[in-house]
Symmetry: C2
Subunit: 333 residues, 2 copies
Amino acid sequence: MPTIRDVAKRASVGIATVSRVLNNSTSVSKETRQAVLAAIEELDFTPNPIARQLSTGRTLTVGVILPFLTMPSYVERLRGVQHALAETEYHMVLFSVGSPSERDAYFKDLPRNNLVDGILIISLPPNDAQAERLALAEIPTVLIDAYHSRLSCILTDDVKGGMLATQHLIDLGHRKIGFLSDLLETPFHPSARFRYQGYRKALEDSGIPFDPAYHISGERGRENAAKMARHLLALDNPPTAIFAGNDIQAIGVLDAAKEAGVKVPDELSVIGFDGVRDSEYTHLTTIDQHLFQSGVRGVQMLIETLESNSPSPQHQRLPLDLIRRVTTQVFQE
Amino acid sequence: MPTIRDVAKRASVGIATVSRVLNNSTSVSKETRQAVLAAIEELDFTPNPIARQLSTGRTLTVGVILPFLTMPSYVERLRGVQHALAETEYHMVLFSVGSPSERDAYFKDLPRNNLVDGILIISLPPNDAQAERLALAEIPTVLIDAYHSRLSCILTDDVKGGMLATQHLIDLGHRKIGFLSDLLETPFHPSARFRYQGYRKALEDSGIPFDPAYHISGERGRENAAKMARHLLALDNPPTAIFAGNDIQAIGVLDAAKEAGVKVPDELSVIGFDGVRDSEYTHLTTIDQHLFQSGVRGVQMLIETLESNSPSPQHQRLPLDLIRRVTTQVFQE
DNA sequence: GCTAGGATTGGAACCGGTTCCAGATAATGA
DNA sequence: TCATTATCTGGAACCGGTTCCAATCCTAGC
């Protein structure tokens, strides 16, 4: 592998000059530049990025920490990150988190070793101590789908989203509204809890009493959601509408309804949350939280911070949009 | 940020000794080691991986090139890669390919710049020239779900898989068997074509004449598959079984069948291909090609090559298993 | 004709590790 | 006791870039 010194020798110039040509920095005469470019061509020289990283202190790499592709919504956010990063000169290193201890290890180590220039954390809220460390680190961090006052964030207002979804059902005339979701207490992202809060708030605002029988939560996944939905549908006085904590669960609800012979949306309205692709296929009414866009925005915010190194954390809130498809309908007696 | 020299000074030893402690290489006396470890602790020192990379020539990074997460099957393979890589000391850098030109750029550049120690290519078969370059490069490459004689590969026998699926339907007594898939000619991975060949071969082996009306291909995706399935089901003499090129398309077929009031499996048997998670949910009979495992094996082969630098390409074939679920059934008049 | 100042250029130091090699010390054997 | 060897240890070179700084050349201005 030829080095910059080989090129310098071949072009009969100094190594500094070759470097200048490579970075087309300060003035190099046209003839010299030509000579250097010719030598580079002849030797088939490519600068070694590692050496460059060492001397510049920049790695041109962004580290992405996420709960690894366990849910379509993470994949969709990651897709947004990838898309936005492709427009820049930065590479993407993936750090997958499978357990709280793994998460903590990355939170601790990644900001210290100079492996990446910036960190994107997807759907993994740090605790106060971790956030403090991240905030003090030289490497900027942006949280996507997680909040901490000390760090820059791309946020989704899950409470508001929960209200939006519930309000939609209320507006359609429903009064017996079920809520079905992941476990509310989780070591990872507590979005289900916030959405539940939104659900409760919307009911309260409309003066609809909350019925604990209409609230059920359990392990994630379509099958489990179907199981929970069967339970709701088997109640003596079953709900006429179900708000599922995410789209995958909503699809599980659709499964259960079909199986039970309950017609959607005639006899049961179903609304999801996320706006993943599967919701399109299934024509599910849902709350679109712009997952792809969250990845894009996260990258934008990180790159901005990297280039301006403004230290004050920024918080950006993504819009939420009700996408009305065919699974919700006006309540009919 | 403290450096190895700071540690050396603090522990009153030479930098070489610190390095020895860090790499617990050749003999260092117990007392010296203790002193160095204490200094490291006190200074909160972490070795800079970039500097290490420059001097050792190893980056401890594997580059993964893949058509970016456009299909569940790629995600599943990637998951396997991630899982296996997590057991090693290697990191993973993701290079996403959205177009043939992007693919060609990565094939060309990645082996040259010393950014990664090894390359995994998922579902992107290189042409001869590219394969030659990759084979000659100092950086080892392993193809997952793609074949080239000059390179190590983790393979799936799509032709055999196509035969397996078709044979299953034939064994059940079906004679009017449809085949529905992606476009057979694609700039990317031609798995659909191979599966189609397997379909044709199985028919031929059983002496069942091929009916061109039963073969349809088009853009990928569930919806498109449903559209194509509607077409097949609307034929004067519709097939009694459909083999879909992949699970997502098979799910599209199920959609179309339900919509048309055709009962699965009573009136129509459906078999998919891949064994993605969605196939579990939908209780789809399918050919499991062990996607996750393909990622794991790819990593294993790559790491092996990295550590033994054996230059001769290895080819490993993954098994194919028929998973019989509920969407296929004995043909009944 | 002489000098100030801008344009080019090259050498050397530097980034922060690893490792070769030689020197120092301790232990072993005769 | 002395030579020999094994064990430890540190300095310096090296990986391959970038960049500071000083040197050189050239041209314009007086």
